[in-house]
């Protein structure tokens, strides 16, 4: 059987409608995903249901701001499911910071950080970017990724933008409508949240994450 792997984005591969990244730490699974070995290179399957970035790729994301060597700031890292794939993509020359407020989920994440040399754990509140500013040593990042289930999602995003993004770099914001308002119409919540970004960002694409996540969109934008 011949495997055909198509590189759809830098370091992201597609095979039979599933996507994969090269495993940075061969032989190790991060969250029980499938491993695939082709020509002595090991690939990890990227689960659409567990990672919102993967779901966005599946649903037709047109541009991928992460490539080899990128620096990524990831807010809402949780157990590091998505971040492990980001770590695969950016490779040893890249750098990813995972920020999360909950010690509970970071327990697992720290274990991953010990295996992957390009990922760093930060247990802080993403609302207070100045608490972890020092760790980035004044560096700007290539991508600010945010996936937090908080009612002030766009405010958190803009606050971090101030500290870590420069003109032309990319931002990805996952908006979860249900954590902003339980009552109001989902569409208007998305409109309002993304509208808050337009002053500082050019929104390039908004991807709905159906059917993998309910009432979620991922917005890809560029800092003006």
């Amino acid at each position: 059987m011949v495997f055909v792997l198509e590189e759809i984005f830098p370091e992201v591969f597609e095979h039979e409608n599933k996507i994969f990244t090269k495993n940075l730490v061969p032989g190790v699974k991060v969250y029980g995903e499938r491993l695939l070995k082709i020509d002595n290179v090991e690939y990890r399957q990227w689960d659409f249901f567990r990672s919102k970035l993967a779901a966005a790729i599946k649903n037709g994301l047109t541009e991928m701001p992460i490539r080899k060597g990128s620096t990524v700031l990831y807010l809402g890292a949780a157990e590091g499911t998505t971040l492990s794939h980001v770590s695969d993509i950016i490779g040893e020359t890249g750098l990813a910071f995972g920020v999360d407020i909950s010690e509970r989920v970071m327990r697992k994440f720290i274990g991953m950080c010990e295996q992957r040399k390009n990922v760093m754990p930060v247990i802080e509140d993403a609302r207070k970017p100045w608490t972890y500013k020092a760790f980035l040593e004044g560096k700007k990042v290539d991508l600010l990724f945010q996936d937090v289930a908080q009612s002030d999602q766009s405010r958190i995003f803009l606050k971090n933008t101030e500290y870590f993004l420069e003109k032309g770099s990319a931002g990805m914001l996952v908006v979860k409508a249900k954590s902003i308002s339980q009552q109001s119409d989902v569409g208007s919540v998305f409109g309002k949240e993304l509208g808050a970004l337009t002053e500082q960002f050019k929104i390039k694409q908004v991807v709905n994450l159906k059917p993998f996540e309910k009432d979620h969109v991922l917005a890809l934008c560029k800092k003006l």
Binding site: L95, M106, I110, C113, K117, M120, V122, I123
Partner: protein
């Protein structure tokens, strides 16, 4: 540059590890876990007890209509066994003075149940003793929760009671979060489902109480005043939680309890 990063990485990992350690040395984390275990123990006990009662019911179907309490029932199964062995005397030993011993013996003699094999009974008794072990673990755990709550939140747990207080704290997310909760939220902790149903659809009525429905103060007032009692109790609880977290270890619970008793008398 490369060295810088590996050093930074080490530093960050150590820092995060320490933060995790600190978090798990806080007392409220253990109470939150314990309260979750308490709920699971209850569920498991009920599940096993139901099975055992159903099973023993083939042998002595009349027993369940006399002994409604699962724990007592299981003790009869475990300690006596076959219905032929049941006598007024040994039932009295298990039940204490209840006036039911005569009835049990009578029913046992005239029971329509089928005989039970020795091997089957052994299995059944093993099941019963396992379920009873869960029950005794539950009792111990409850004591642990009450003691620990008393230590970390003396005022709050005196008003709420140990287990109820722990349940409220677990739902709020911790001792600090509990102290930040407004009284109106305190009143509805545990009623989130009903609250959001109401917010989405105004036709369904909003809840008046969450966990605090189980508090004696709310229980003792008649139905139409329960909402009022819950409101008063919640406001005192919110105050007490703040006194515990931010205050200087002063005992304010006595005055509050006196106030609440007065209020309860008004509402009766």
């Amino acid at each position: 540059m490369a060295r810088d990063i590996s050093q930074l990485r080490k530093q960050l990992i150590n820092r995060a590890k320490k933060q995790v350690q600190v978090r798990y040395s806080e007392k409220d984390v253990h109470i939150i876990r314990a309260i979750s275990v308490l709920g699971d123990l209850d569920n498991s006990f009920n599940l096993l007890a139901e099975n055992a009662i159903e099973w023993y019911g083939g042998h002595f179907p009349e027993l369940h209509s006399i002994i409604r309490d699962n724990e007592t029932y299981l003790r009869i199964v475990k300690e006596i066994g076959e219905k032929e062995k049941i006598s007024e005397k040994n039932i009295l030993k298990i039940l204490g003075e209840s006036g039911k011993e005569k009835k049990v013996e009578e029913k046992a003699k005239k029971s329509m149940g089928s005989p039970i094999q020795k091997k089957t009974l052994e299995e059944l008794q093993l099941l019963a003793s396992n379920a009873l072990a869960l029950k005794s673990e539950r009792k111990k755990l409850q004591e642990f929760i009450e003691k620990e709550m008393e230590k970390i939140a003396p005022n709050f747990s005196k008003i709420a009671g140990g287990v109820l207080g722990a349940r409220l704290m677990a739902n709020a997310g911790g001792l600090k979060q509990l102290a930040m909760v407004p009284a109106s939220t305190m009143q509805l902790l545990g009623a989130e489902k009903a609250l959001f149903r109401h917010l989405k659809n105004k036709k369904s009525k909003g809840p008046k109480y969450g966990f605090i429905y189980g508090h004696t103060l709310v229980k003792q007032v008649p139905g139409k005043n329960k909402g009022k009692a819950a409101r008063s109790l919640a406001s005192k609880l919110a105050l007490a939680a703040r006194a515990d977290y931010f205050g200087n270890k002063k005992d304010v619970s006595k005055e509050m309890l006196a106030d609440l008793e007065k209020r309860a008398a008004e509402l009766k």
